[in-house]
Subunit: 711 residues, 2 copies
């Protein structure tokens, strides 16, 4: 179901989400419950019992009167009360019938753990279609198939509808993962970090309930403070963007997309439910909707710890407090690399520290209270950092030096952290196999101070907090909407080209479309003969460019079909005659265009991604694109902020400001071209590709000098 | 002591290292032992006892008859037997006298834990000088001051000469760290990973025993399989390179240098014993001698686990075995990013797998034995990977699925790992709070299989193993030595320039020096007048460049003192007359040079780093250097392999091969210029800076067109 549909339905049902029956089931049937130890049908029952599910459990098994001490039923129709949710763990061929039964029985959601569907070729796909039809008929929501299930740790519910082996305590981080294997180790990681978890969902083949719907559900869930997402791509990226763009502003979504390399995407294609093909679009989706993207799952889990207890910083200025030198250096490096600043302290702060710290302490930022510094020294440093106006967040290196009262230090950190005025992360260097330090660790843990074992790890978590602040501040705005465009004119050209079955538009068509959307192009004429060409050139004014044009002439530039810098009538004549000899096509014509020397060559382009739409590309022409691959992409429609980011994000960006005595280019003109292209392809989705290369940028104007449009 | 001196001394003493008394002390005096709980003088004694030191301990305290049950002595002269090593934990002002006493008493090594020396300004520095003099007099080796100390876990010794709180089991990884804080958490990390440790050393102010000596000592230690190094820079980088270059080939050195950012280096400068200033040279040192460089200390520690048990792969081809899809995708991404390949399997291998794996298994690379796969399925996959000729290393994703005999899987992994034919790393996804899986984990651990909790982490460790293979294969060779150079000629020019107190050489001098070393320069003449200039230009042949030259004319290019592309006699006259008017200096002369249009502009340069020598720089001229900062550096003297790497490592490297129809440049000529520059500055260390910009590269030749040399 799409996010829009789901939202409409929710409104109709008075705010009750359909997914409540999945995530908050009052009763669960296990169709395929088994008394065989280690079987999935046994493990799921075992887990529900072990975790302390507070609702009713109905094992369904035609042969057993009870399983694991729970009364079993021959079939779902024998079950007395309502059933909110059913697990299905029977061979795939029986699933369509069972779903029909579930529908008749009034079951609202079904988790199909069984495999043997779309991941197994045509036969499996047919079964999947069959059960889906039955589900739609009765309004049964399907989770899976070929999936783990869901977990809801809410103490009033304790629904562990999954066959995994990690039993998390309640917390505020919710997980949704395409891959159960990845979801499970992320859950385990939160468990190992003792963060706690709110909800979990891994939906395997995802034939009905989608990641987008789950994200949406987590977004509305008050108990969820942060969301972790793992995916290998999106079946319906637009739907995902619709869901995520609102939620990402409300609560942090930490996400990782694998299949970043060609080899990785091949590996992804070979396993269940994943989408093949290396793509850049998922990263662009994350950026557009404001999702924190990670390429390292360990860092993602570590960061979630900070999000689960700490406030979001109001800026990028970090105060560092340390009781040992080296780790502060490492932390400083990593913080700075993450875009954070370590500003100097005010004179007032320094004065306080001078009076309160040990004489061997280092007064500055970092503040080194030294290893012999105790609770009161840490507290003084913490108070200073909390009160400093130009400090937004506090980073602590705390080694449990054996000659100090480390519990006292921990208590002071907790007291300041509890103020919730500025986020605190702590690189806590200790030996947890010693009882003494276990106590210290517990004080910090119970006080909600996120503790890490390495300065770089802690600094990366701080970096993620700051990045989320930046995301919250970044309002990309609405796509630009230029009114002085001629939509009808473009529609006519495209209709004609389509009826002619042209894949590539002719040069006049391409330039006319650009002009219709207010994109400046170098002045041009078409001509069939020498005479017409000379006339055209004289009208435009010298120098000109001459391009041969014919349907079968695709790579004209490589074939000598483009001549630049034609300076006079004589040269026009010569050129046309040479081209007429070379390209003996019946439909040969000539494209005469103003030649504009001395501009900076830029490139803009458009490509199409299935189910997502257009990507807009921008770069500096020539070797920057060809050798350095220095280009920026955004998903259309592009806003003014995004267009500006495209220009500033390329490495050669400085070139546009002018270097080595050259003048800068008219950046607003460049931005406007990007925005108008975006509007054009959004208005006309049938445009598949567009290549404006080069765009010539001058100090006072920007002009498209060559264009190719594919429909 | 320098590495060369240390080596000579070791030969004289019959192979016994002086540092044996530090790392393998038979008896230890604790000067400043204290009965006060939590004092350093108490903690050190406690640690020695707790860890089970097998030698004699002599607490020295004028007031106490015994401390912690150990007989104490009033002073070191009262101690009955020999003393190998003394801890000094007394106020800094008493240290010079105590060192004198130690010398008289025949103590061979002293760890000075006390602070208050070079890190505390002039007064402290004077004390440090004073005790060092006394130490030299008696041949006492000093470790520290202001340091933690050493640890040797050898079961026959168990020397814990440190006040930290982590008590590692014996292992094969040795640590040396400038910062005790960092050293301690690295040790703790190995402890948490249950890797074990061999030796530990953190030498604080490092006034005598240096990191280089320690590295050298670890290199000779048979029990050390891998070395971890943390530093913030080197006081004597050449000495370090001398030590490290041999050891790095013998055993892996995993290193991290912090202070990578300006802010980080400032933080480093403010704490004990560190060197200020952001530098690129430490990374270059690591590269030159073959050290595995890390920017993330957690990754470094994780990698050391793989090195401690696994063989080094013989190539970069990895076979992946998994029992869950997603984690294999993540692993594949990271492995590929680390330069590894995931080759397809042979037909024979696929046939075996088809016959032995479950029907739902994925046959390929990765092999997915699926979650229900058991020991025999894993074993079949492992046997295939061990026998595949085009597989060098094995990556395992092992989730402890609750429906399999996970111990059986673990035993099979261990059996194959024990063959030691190919390295194995394992991403082991489990819940260690469950007894059942603790057993599985112990089987893997006891079997020496390095286990990680995240696929990316495991893949990074595998990447490090491969990188070390690449280091072992990379023989940079000897610096090139061209015989057709005119050393005397250069010596004369430099002597004259020095006597004239010139900081920058004149253009004729600079070009003469280059020519003397066989570096091709554009043909040139000097001239004082119009007549001489015309003559010079005619001799060279048109077009020419004219450059004004005078002692006070530094930025001549910006002042209009350089005119390119002078095409004839008339233009020469005009140019000279204009310049004569513009630059009214009494010493004005003209530099007439061949003008070579159409070459690719390259840059080479030389800078000097204190205590290290020259760095050679190479890049593509213009915006590549100015805007993209696309340059490569190496430490002189440079070998042919290194010069080749410089060229291939810059992003614009492809430009030299020719792009967009341009021809490639004469790369051998570029390499030779780099090598000859390197030889020149190595022969003449008084050359401080050199700037060859541009060097013009053509298809068949490479010529220096402008040169600046600073002495």
């Amino acid at each position: 179901m799409s996010i829009t549909e789901a939202a409409e339905k929710k409104v109709k049902t008075g705010g009750i989400s359909e997914l409540d029956s999945l995530f908050k089931p009052k009763s669960i049937a296990i169709i395929g419950a088994s008394s065989k130890e280690l079987s999935i049908g046994n493990v799921i029952l075992k887990n529900l019992l072990y975790y302390g599910y507070t609702g009713n459990i109905y094992p369904i098994n035609p042969k057993e009167p009870e399983i694991r001490g729970v009364k079993a039923y021959e079939n779902i129709f024998d079950v007395p009360g309502d059933i909110d949710l059913a697990h299905v763990i029977i061979p795939s061929k029986f699933v369509p019938q069972i779903i029909e039964d579930c529908g008749k029985r009034g079951i609202k959601s079904v988790i199909i753990n069984s495999a043997g569907f779309s991941e197994m070729g045509d036969e499996g796909m047919a079964l999947q279609k069959a059960f889906l039809e039955n589900a739609k008929k009765y309004g049964v929501r399907i989770f899976g198939p070929n999936c783990q299930g869901i977990i809801n740790t809410d103490p009033s519910l304790k629904a562990y509808c999954d066959f995994t082996f990690t039993f998390p305590s309640p917390g505020s981080v919710s997980i949704v993962a395409l891959s159960g294997g990845v979801g499970a180790f992320i859950m385990q990681s939160l468990f190992d970090l003792d963060i706690g978890m709110r909800m979990y969902a891994s939906n395997g083949n995802a034939c009905d309930v989608s990641i987008s719907e789950v994200i949406n559900y987590y977004g509305d869930d008050e108990g969820t403070k942060a969301i972790i997402l793992y995916t290998e791509g999106f079946a319906n990226p637009k739907d995902f963007m619709d869901a995520a763009k609102f939620i990402a502003k409300k609560k942090p979504i930490l996400a990782m997309k694998s299949g970043r390399t060609e080899e990785g995407s091949k590996a992804a294609a070979s396993h269940t439910g994943s989408l093949a093909g290396i793509d850049i679009s998922t990263e662009l989706i994350f950026e557009k909707v404001g999702i924190l993207s990670f390429s390292n799952e360990e860092e993602m889990c570590q960061a979630s710890m900070a999000f689960s207890t700490q406030p979001i910083p109001k800026g990028n200025r970090v105060g560092i407090i340390t009781n040992t030198g080296g780790p502060a250096v490492i932390a400083t490096d990593e913080l700075v690399c993450a875009g954070l600043q370590i500003p100097p302290l005010s004179e007032k702060a320094k004065q306080i520290l001078k009076e309160t710290l040990l004489p061997e302490a280092t007064i500055g930022n970092p503040i080194d209270v030294v290893a012999t510094g105790g609770g009161k020294h840490f507290r003084s440093a913490l108070d200073v950092m909390i009160n400093e106006e130009n400090i937004d967040a506090i980073f602590i290196n705390f080694v449990t030096a054996p000659f100090t009262d480390t519990d006292e230090v921990a208590r002071n950190i907790v007291e300041v952290s509890n103020l919730k005025r500025k986020p605190i992360v702590c690189n806590f260097m200790t030996n947890l196999s010693l009882e003494r330090f276990k106590v210290t660790a517990k004080i910090l843990k119970d006080g909600g101070v996120p503790c890490y074992s390495f300065p770089t790890t802690a600094a990366k978590a701080m970096g993620a907090l700051y990045k989320y602040h930046a995301i919250q501040c970044r309002d990309i705005g609405q796509p630009a909407l230029f009114l002085n465009v001629h939509k009808n004119e473009v529609a006519q050209i495209l209709t004609k080209a389509k009826s002619n079955k042209n894949e590539f538009l002719t040069a006049p068509d391409a330039y006319s479309i650009l002009s219709a959307y207010g994109i400046p192009v170098a002045e041009w004429r078409t001509a069939k003969s020498v005479t017409e060409s000379v006339k055209a050139a004289q009208e435009i004014g010298f120098p000109v460019v001459i391009k041969a044009d014919a349907a079968s002439l695709v790579h004209k530039s490589d074939m000598g079909g483009v001549m630049l810098n034609i300076k006079n009538t004589e040269e026009v004549k010569e050129t046309i005659e040479i081209m007429q000899k070379k390209f003996n096509y019946p439909d040969l014509s000539f494209f005469i265009q103003q030649f504009l020397p001395g501009g900076k060559e830029l490139i803009a382009g458009v490509s199409t991604k299935p189910e997502l739409g257009h990507l807009i590309m921008f770069g500096v022409g020539g070797i920057y694109v060809e050798v350095l691959n220095d280009v920026a992409f955004k998903i259309a429609p592009v806003t003014k902020l995004e267009a500006t980011e495209m220009i500033s994000s390329i490495k050669a960006s400085k070139l546009l400001d002018g270097v080595r005595g050259e003048k800068g280019v008219h950046k607003q003109g460049v931005i406007e071209i990007i925005l108008r292209i975006s509007q054009l392809v959004t208005d006309f989705p049938e445009i598949k590709e567009m290549d404006l290369n080069p765009i010539l940028a001058f100090e006072d104007k920007v002009v498209v000098a060559d264009a190719r449009i594919k429909i």
